[in-house]
């Protein structure tokens, strides 16, 4: 795939050159350099297209509304003002939204780390009747599209009397089939001899799991933490159907209501973009801290 090292079609009379090559490729070194420069120019251009929206978001959040409307493209606020942030934190429900998102995210992440690894360990290591059936059922569960579950989830949450409560917002998210898979795959890669030793020493199953196996599972647990953190922080549809009280509004729901102009008049782009920027910060921090692992997570997903 390396275009630079690409060979020129020698004796081009026989073959029509493809679009990617040209007869001029024969003068390789100079051509290669040109390719190289072109490639970098292309990549830098593309990267700018991907990054610029976020830069303009940050810049606009510290602009005045008039400035944001007059010169939306500029990355330099003139004048610089923190009034959008002040307004969000001092004179709106934003802190409540942030707190709710934080509470839900922490609970969901903790729950998933514990329950997913328990189930993953059982599926990987413990022998019990019905294990195959459970596993097949988990595969089926992963195939159900989430938007199809909006109405169903509401029905059950309502029926159980936990509508409009933290319980309704957190409980249904406490477990995810994909996380169970990741943990199962990890535990299968751990040599069984470690557990055998502990078992001979007389440790019970939970004790082996808790003090021997789980500490070894750090890499997989970090993966689960990242995925659940990202998933529950960015979750919108579940919170729409699980609660309606303003006290239980999460960031996603709150910012969505800001966007559709329910709370403010005028365009108010600095405030909206400041809100969007703040809700991006936690996932961005997690992303940059665990960057390498996140990239590898997706890579591992394909190999299966």
């Amino acid at each position: 795939m390396s275009l630079t090292l690409g060979r020129a079609p020698r004796g081009g009379a026989v073959r029509t050159p493809g679009r990617g090559t040209s007869p001029a490729l024969r003068r390789r070194p100079r051509k290669a350099l040109a390719w190289q420069i072109g490639l970098y120019a292309l990549l830098i251009g593309l990267a700018l297209v991907y990054v610029y929206p976020f830069l303009v978001q940050l810049a606009t959040s510290v602009k005045t509304e008039a400035d944001a409307a007059a010169d939306p493209v500029s990355l330099v606020p003139d004048p610089l003002t923190w009034s959008a942030y002040a307004r969000l934190f001092l004179r709106s429900d934003f802190p409540v939204w942030f707190a709710n998102s934080a509470i839900v995210t922490v609970l969901v992440t903790a729950g998933r780390v514990f329950f997913d690894s328990l189930a993953g360990y059982a599926l990987a290591r413990l022998h019990f009747r019905g294990r195959g059936v459970i596993f097949a059922a988990l595969v089926a569960v992963m195939a159900v599209p989430t938007v199809v579950l909006l109405i169903p989830k509401f029905l059950v949450i309502n029926q159980l009397g936990i509508y409009d409560s933290y319980a309704g917002m957190v409980l249904p998210l406490l477990v995810d089939a994909a996380g169970v898979f990741i943990m199962k795959n990890f535990f299968e890669s751990v040599p069984a001899s470690v557990e055998e030793q502990a078992r001979i020493d007389g440790a019970g199953t939970f004790r082996i799991f808790w003090s021997v196996v789980l500490p070894m599972a750090r890499p997989a647990l970090v993966t689960i933490v990242i995925l659940s953190f990202q998933g529950s922080w960015n979750e919108l549809s579940h919170f729409i159907v699980a609660a309606q009280s303003p006290d239980l509004t999460t960031l996603t729901k709150g910012v969505a209501s800001l966007a559709s102009g329910q709370l403010s008049q005028g365009s108010q782009y600095p405030i909206k973009l400041a809100a969007a920027a703040i809700m991006t910060i936690p996932v961005a921090v997690v992303f940059f801290v665990f960057q390498r692992r996140i990239m590898n997570t997706s890579e591992g997903a394909v190999k299966e």
């Binding site: 060979r7 004796g11 059950v156 159980l160 406490l174 969505a256 991006t280 394909v302």
Partner: protein, 384 residues
């Protein structure tokens, strides 16, 4: 497939295990109980919040429940397929809305899936080059939009594509008058035809239709507003799929590629003949994930346009939510959700069937490159 095989293997293994345990029974004592106990939280939560709800919603889709009280109470009546009929053959507003939502989403899928796949593959090939310096930086830049929430991205998009926003300002600088993006309900294809002077469709198309929408309107293309969402989807998902393709590319043994290079295959030809066929499993994953994701457009519509302008960004997922939660038409909302489920499952199966392994090498070769020779060996010989 291979995933499903694992537990069976394990079950097979447990035979000898059990025999061995006959002697040292104490060691594996209580393992079955522990297994079920360990699984219990997952089973209970998935059962209560996934299996039971789906069954309940299935019942609601066959009932006349109005949203008050419990759908399982005695006052709720069974109405058979009435809800499904209302959205597919009713002839009323419900059918028309469903038709419009399907049209919108179909155009969305037709544009987003190929474009995001092509862009992701393109980025992966660029980023994966061995000679490239700073590839981590580029990967990060392309992947970052994928980790941010769809709500935040939608807010940003509403700003970028506002009437006097960033995109239109940039367009104006190169002399193009940008459209009114999120307020423009006109179909892109209709606009193109209009530019050619064709403003009203032929009677054959305007007199007949499907699901309450005339064929002419089915062919409107995505509205300008929906096109902005299309661009957004491509922007946010290409990074994720790029990573999948990078992983796929790294799994390809370099020897084959080198052999082709020695044989004198050009870069373009090597890509189509050697790299792409080996990427087929990844390609299937990306297309399937893309297809499933594209039929579930909800967050963006809820945050951004609520289906407007002129219902041209209405999607089945949002329509299902709207019918149930806003119009209290719970039966119809549930029916739409199940129809959507069936559509997703059928399309995934269809895709799997289209992309299945076939032994017709010549056809792929003809499609793949400008080279008329189906046999790579012969090409090489002719070259020399």
């Amino acid at each position: 497939m291979s995933l499903l095989a694992t537990p069976r293997d394990a079950g097979y293994r447990s035979g000898p295990d059990r025999a061995r345990n006959g002697a040292g029974r104490g060691i594996r004592r209580g393992e079955a109980a522990a297994g079920w106990l360990f699984m219990l939280p997952v089973l209970v939560i998935l059962g209560v919040f996934l299996l039971v709800p789906v069954l309940m919603a299935l019942w609601v889709s066959f009932s006349d429940w109005s949203g008050r009280g419990s759908p399982l109470s005695s006052g709720v009546g069974f109405v058979g397929l009435d809800n499904y009929a209302a959205v597919t053959t009713g002839g009323g507003l419900a059918e028309r809305d469903f038709g419009i939502a399907l049209r919108n989403n179909t155009w969305y899928v037709l544009l987003v899936v190929p474009l995001q796949t092509a862009l992701a593959l393109f980025l992966a090939v660029l980023v994966n080059r061995a000679v490239l310096r700073g590839r981590g930086v580029f990967r990060t830049a392309f992947y970052f939009p994928s980790v941010t929430s769809s709500v935040a991205i939608t807010v940003l998009w509403l700003f970028l594509f506002s009437t006097s926003g960033v995109v239109n300002t940039v367009l104006a600088r190169v002399g193009i008058a940008g459209p009114n993006w999120f307020n423009d309900p006109s179909g892109v294809l209709h606009n193109l035809l209009g530019a050619l002077g064709l403003r009203t469709g032929p009677d054959a198309l305007t007199q007949h239709g499907f699901l309450g929408v005339t064929w002419w309107d089915w062919l409107a293309g995505p509205s300008v507003a929906m096109s902005a969402f299309v661009l957004m989807a491509i922007f946010t998902t290409s990074g994720t799929f790029m990573l999948l393709f990078v992983a796929g590319l790294q799994n390809i043994a370099p020897e084959v590629e080198e052999a082709a290079m020695v044989d004198g295959a050009g870069a373009w030809q090597r890509f189509w003949r050697i790299t792409l066929p080996q990427l087929k499993p990844t390609l299937f994953t990306v297309l399937t994930l893309g297809l499933i994701g594209c039929w579930q457009v909800f967050d963006q519509i809820y945050t951004g346009t609520q289906g407007g302008p002129g219902k041209t960004t209405l999607t089945p997922a949002y329509l299902s939510y709207q019918s149930a939660f806003l119009s209290q038409d719970w039966g119809q909302g549930a029916a739409i959700a199940f129809i959507l489920f069936v559509i997703i499952v059928l399309l995934t199966i269809l895709q799997r069937w289209i992309l299945r392994e076939r032994p017709d090498v010549p056809r792929r070769a003809r499609r793949g490159g400008p080279n008329p020779h189906p046999n790579p060996d012969r090409t090489t010989e002719a070259d020399r």
